[in-house]
Symmetry: C2
Subunit: 345 residues, 2 copies
Amino acid sequence: MQAALMYGAGDVRIETVAQPVIQEPTDAIVRITAACICGSDLWPYGSKPATAEGARMGHEFVGIVEELGTAVTGLSVGDFVIAPFVTSCGVCDFCREGLQTSCRVGGRWGGTHDGGQGQFARVPHASGTLVRVPAGFDETLIPSLLSLSDVMSTGYHAAKKAGIRPGQAVTVIGDGAVGLSAVIAAKLMGASRIILMGRHKSRTDLGREFGATDVVAERGAEGAAKVRELTDGDGTPVVLEAVGLKDALVTAAAVVRDGGVISRVGAPQFADVPLGFPEFLRNITLTGGVAPARAYIEELLPLVLDGTINPGRVFDRTTDLAGVPDGYQAMAGRQALKVLVKPQP
Amino acid sequence: MQAALMYGAGDVRIETVAQPVIQEPTDAIVRITAACICGSDLWPYGSKPATAEGARMGHEFVGIVEELGTAVTGLSVGDFVIAPFVTSCGVCDFCREGLQTSCRVGGRWGGTHDGGQGQFARVPHASGTLVRVPAGFDETLIPSLLSLSDVMSTGYHAAKKAGIRPGQAVTVIGDGAVGLSAVIAAKLMGASRIILMGRHKSRTDLGREFGATDVVAERGAEGAAKVRELTDGDGTPVVLEAVGLKDALVTAAAVVRDGGVISRVGAPQFADVPLGFPEFLRNITLTGGVAPARAYIEELLPLVLDGTINPGRVFDRTTDLAGVPDGYQAMAGRQALKVLVKPQP
């Protein structure tokens, strides 16, 4: 089969790799019908040292169950399934608590394991990992179902960890696919005002359609001043940070109201969080983290199926596997917001 | 009247200062009957540059209302009152939300204002700031009532912001007066296990009496390993940090369970919090901050009056005003845990 491998910064290749087979009785083999390139894939795409062995890529996909190990329950061959961006057993204490990203036996896609950017994947702990979509759904919903793998669930995690209450004002920092998904999530949780900080007009326009009431295109101190101006000088009690750079957290601290919450879902590209004595005096909480998408897919799935939310609109480009290297380039160059990959011929 | 002033590191003097008078109709004058030296006073005591003008000190006191401005309501001359460690109006949005430390007009004690380490104090926004204690209480409770000014309320803030649920395991870092108060608070909120990290046996012994079930005397990586050993390798879902040094937060991150909460009430002596990518992957929340003591005094007062909690036991030395400079030295040298000051002759 064909799959994408990254050999170093800017170097993604499509190659023939081994067809996956069942290795453990808890495995499933899934034929991938749609996958993505992720904003987080752009970090290694920008900085990964060159390697002789390529790393398999992609951690978001949907597809059809091809084969099941003997111990898999709750799934049948032919099921349409959503794969969250980490695998999880479904039975350990962390999985039962809804923190499947800390599953005691789960793991990540890609690297030496199969990734989403390929034609098939072996799915470990298939009963715990995969979520079955009831048959008969409208296939135009596939982009939105696919977004539950990561970006929509990640935006929702930001909102949930922040504990948004109906009527609250929320600032969302970042107009990437996760930031826009966070707008959807904030609206879903009843935010009365959603200030979206982002400077790409086509993206912030989509953000407005998703529920943003205000857009601030300025960045840094200027952007923060604008948000404070919009909020009588106070900032908002909730800030959802969907970038992952230290500057974004500095902005978050500058626009959060005293006693408020910064919920971060941008993978931090830095070791220390700039929350010192001033933020201590202002009782600022920092929450968030990597999203246990598996915990949210069952909750969000009915909202996708009935059309309440349409997060699949974040995909603005579709490609086959051969187009994946160009897709990385387009996302890195901000010509594409999020690329949907159709790996089957 | 007499009061304590700090002129620089290690330089505290008792001097004659102006007797306070009513300046605003919302002021009260309080005759201070008991006050404290605070662990946070030790930061300037260790590092303040020498100055020609001394700064008034002390931000925790109880006393008797001597005089009231014409606009003060809810208080009478002769009332016994507790003063929280910041002043607050009681009517602005932050005060109504219970975040009186962010009051729009409130302020701090000391500096060029009166402090607690003196015989009298002018109390701005007296109606909002002071809490009246019903007459007829047992005077042996005064140390515990005094602790509500700061340390007990601060320990309680740590526990409340962490949202401790009955049955949870909690680690408390620091065996100072705030750490020990945090133990009381954790027990009050139903923690089933309270691991106290501290290396001063007399303090951790008191911590055990307050409810600590385990004591870890080791520090740093060794101490963290011990806590993890006590908790099947996982750490505890709640960590209350009552030190304020960066190392304590590193320890907090090392002993908090995935998905858990670090609630900090140690005033941070550093700008950046060491919560980077590993803690992001583990979904660690950082909360806490300076405690709005005013929000908790009314809640904790009945528990002091009926003997449910006895936080006044943190005081292990009593002095008159003349003994305050020695009191600073004793606390800095860890010969005293917390010093109670009786400023009236």
